[in-house]
């Protein structure tokens, strides 16, 4: 169908973008690797992460790349299997947050008037209330919150920043002539929003998705770290919880505590790098200027 040609253009555009921007390339590669690990953890993990079959407290060695925990579990296997939770939560929360942000932000901007005022007030209030303490209070009452409950709580608290940003951009686009032209042609409101308003905002929407995903990774692992998630699941945050509770740092098992943190940092950095790269797409003035180019121009 005729959808193939624009699709090809999008793919080619994406590849050029990745080639030119080192940050985006680095971020994408890391994400890709993590996605593979999420899908097929058994390819990489040598052992069942919960199996307490080894000698506890072993340091870095060939049979245990990251040592063992004080219960005798293989840290490396735990790390690999734990990838799935963090990556999934990032993607799922990111997705739903973006849907909410786009929905509320664009509705507010497009409708204007009382609807806009109400939605904006609502957005700003949610934005201003500190979310982490709120999440703590909610999950404390929920006791051993399941994966989906945590997703719900994170989405409900995380959409407001994106909604605000998107509303501002939608407002600036809303009065542009081409939208008025579409309206004059008699196009329906949905057509105008979907076909004329949203496409120019794509890079901002993607940047928002990445930002929400990053927030989800950090918030979820923080919750698990303080024991508010389900401590019996395999995830990086719970690894840190067990490590902290067994004084891993003080008892000479630093890898147990540091490795999951590094993993979170790696996933987070990948998301942050891609986020920044998309920011630069929307605002080319921010792109890196090489010192060589400056020297040539005699600046």
């Amino acid at each position: 169908m005729s959808a193939i040609r624009p699709l090809g253009r999008v793919v080619r555009g994406a590849l050029t973008f990745l080639r030119r921007d080192k940050k985006a390339a680095a971020g994408s590669i890391i994400l890709f690797i993590l996605l593979v690990i999420t899908a097929f953890p058994s390819w990489f993990a040598p052992d069942d992460p919960a199996a307490e079959i080894y000698k506890p407290g072993v340091g870095l060695s060939l049979s245990h790349l990251l040592g063992t925990t004080s219960f005798g579990q293989d840290v490396f296997s735990q790390l690999i299997v734990g990838t799935r939770q963090s990556v999934l939560i990032a993607l799922i929360v990111g997705f739903f947050c973006t849907v909410l942000s786009v929905g509320i932000g664009i509705t507010a901007a497009y409708s204007g008037g009382l609807v806009d005022d109400t939605l904006s007030l609502f957005t700003d209030v949610v934005l201003v209330i500190p979310t982490f303490p709120l999440i703590i209070v909610i999950t404390a009452y929920l006791k051993n919150a399941s994966f989906w409950l945590i997703v719900f709580v994170l989405v409900v608290t995380g959409w407001s920043y994106g909604a605000r940003q998107l509303r501002v951009q939608a407002l600036s686009l809303r009065n542009r002539d081409y939208l008025l032209a579409a309206k004059a042609r008699g196009e329906s409101r949905w057509y105008v929003i979907a076909v004329e308003l949203i496409p120019p905002m794509t890079s901002l929407i993607v940047a928002n998705f990445l930002g929400a995903a990053l927030y989800a990774v950090l918030a979820a692992s923080a919750l698990q770290f303080v024991g508010l998630g389900n401590i019996n699941t395999e995830s990086w945050g719970t690894m840190l919880y067990w490590a902290q509770n067994n004084e891993a740092l003080a008892t000479g098992l630093p890898l147990w505590a540091l490795a999951p943190g590094i993993a979170i940092a790696v996933l987070g950095s990948a998301l942050a790098l891609l986020n920044y790269a998309f920011d630069e797409v929307s605002n080319p003035a921010l792109r890196p200027v090489s010192a060589k180019a400056l020297k040539k121009v005699g600046a």
């Binding site: 200027v289 180019a293 040539k296 121009v297 005699g298």
Partner: protein, 323 residues
């Protein structure tokens, strides 16, 4: 005749673009006498503003001067260090920009911005600074109470006049103006030009004025230079250029402005678009749009030849002597 205060020799400015350097100004030479008003006219993108900012040494990346010199009262500005250059600024050469709304710091009062310039170059006391600020504001008929106002509190015309007042603070010899009337309505335009004219006669400074609208300067400038694609194509006294344009481009420009008096006639324009400045074509840059173009125009670039007061860059006017 006295020494010209400004001598621009073969000035070249390049813009770095993704496809290579674009020659925004391609070897421009000008002389400006003390107290003279020289207007530079041309369409958007012809390089006139770039030329202006190059002369004022205000270019920023991605534009830069890649050749030529700008000699002001015997000193080559392109050879000065940034600190030496800074000391010449405003005292010798001041600038009036196109949009006063954008050219004034929104978070400082008018008075503070006037004081800034004074403090940077003089050791005047606060009292003297206030006194001088009030003086220049009075020159442009702005009430002194506005020293405490912020830019957004003034009207468009007032802001533009405030910019002119600021330009005259340290009694410079040369005031460079980049389309200062573009953002104003016709009445405000005329009022501003008249004010500039009065001040110029009183204080004796030279003016380098860039505009795309020739009618604005027609009654005020001493000489008029026409620019196209980064080059000066015609230069003479204003009256001469208006009444007897020789370059086909200048003729097109004059024809495009209907006169208020006289017979009604059909509006004409100049067909086509300016050439690309990255790897420009050989020969005359106007040839593709010129109705008088000859074969030689497409192969050899015409030189700017001066005869008396008139300088023209055209093979038609100054035919090449064949070997």
């Amino acid at each position: 005749m006295s020494e010209p205060i400004l001598q621009v020799r073969d000035l070249k400015v390049d813009y770095m673009t993704a496809s290579g350097p674009a020659q925004a100004v391609n070897g421009v030479s000008l002389d400006l006498a003390q107290g003279e008003f020289l207007a530079i006219v041309g369409e958007s993108g012809c390089g006139k503003s770039t030329l202006l900012f190059a002369i004022a040494q205000l270019l920023t990346y991605p534009a830069s001067i890649v050749g030529g010199s700008v000699i002001f009262k015997g000193v080559d500005l392109t050879s000065l260090t940034p600190e030496e250059l800074r000391r010449h600024r405003w005292r010798d050469i001041s600038v009036v920009m196109q949009s006063a709304m954008n050219a004034l710091n929104p978070t400082l009062t008018i008075g503070a911005q006037l004081a800034d310039a004074c403090r940077a170059h003089t050791d005047w006391s606060d009292k003297k600074i206030t006194q001088r600020s009030a003086e220049v504001l009075a020159m442009v008929s702005i009430d002194v109470v506005h020293l405490k106002s912020y830019p957004f509190q003034l009207s468009g015309g007032m802001r533009q006049r405030a910019m002119i007042a600021m330009a005259l603070l340290l009694e410079p010899k040369l005031v460079i103006m980049d389309e200062p009337t573009s953002a104003l309505d016709v009445v405000a335009q005329r009022s501003l030009m008249r004010q500039v004219e009065t001040l110029r006669h009183e204080l004796g400074f030279s003016v380098l004025f860039v505009t795309h609208d020739m009618s604005v300067v027609s009654h005020f400038s001493d000489r008029l230079a026409v620019m196209y694609a980064g080059e000066v194509v015609e230069l003479d006294t204003t009256r001469e250029v208006f009444d007897r344009p020789q370059h086909p481009y200048s003729q097109g420009l004059m024809d495009a402005f209907p006169s208020l008096l006289g017979e009604p006639r059909a509006l004409t324009g100049i067909a086509g678009t300016p050439p690309t400045l990255v790897n420009p074509p050989a020969g005359c840059l106007f040839a593709p749009r010129c109705s008088f173009a000859m074969d030689v125009c497409r192969t050899t670039k015409p030189e700017l030849i001066t005869k008396g007061t008139r300088a023209v860059r055209c093979h038609l006017v100054n035919p090449l002597k064949s070997a």
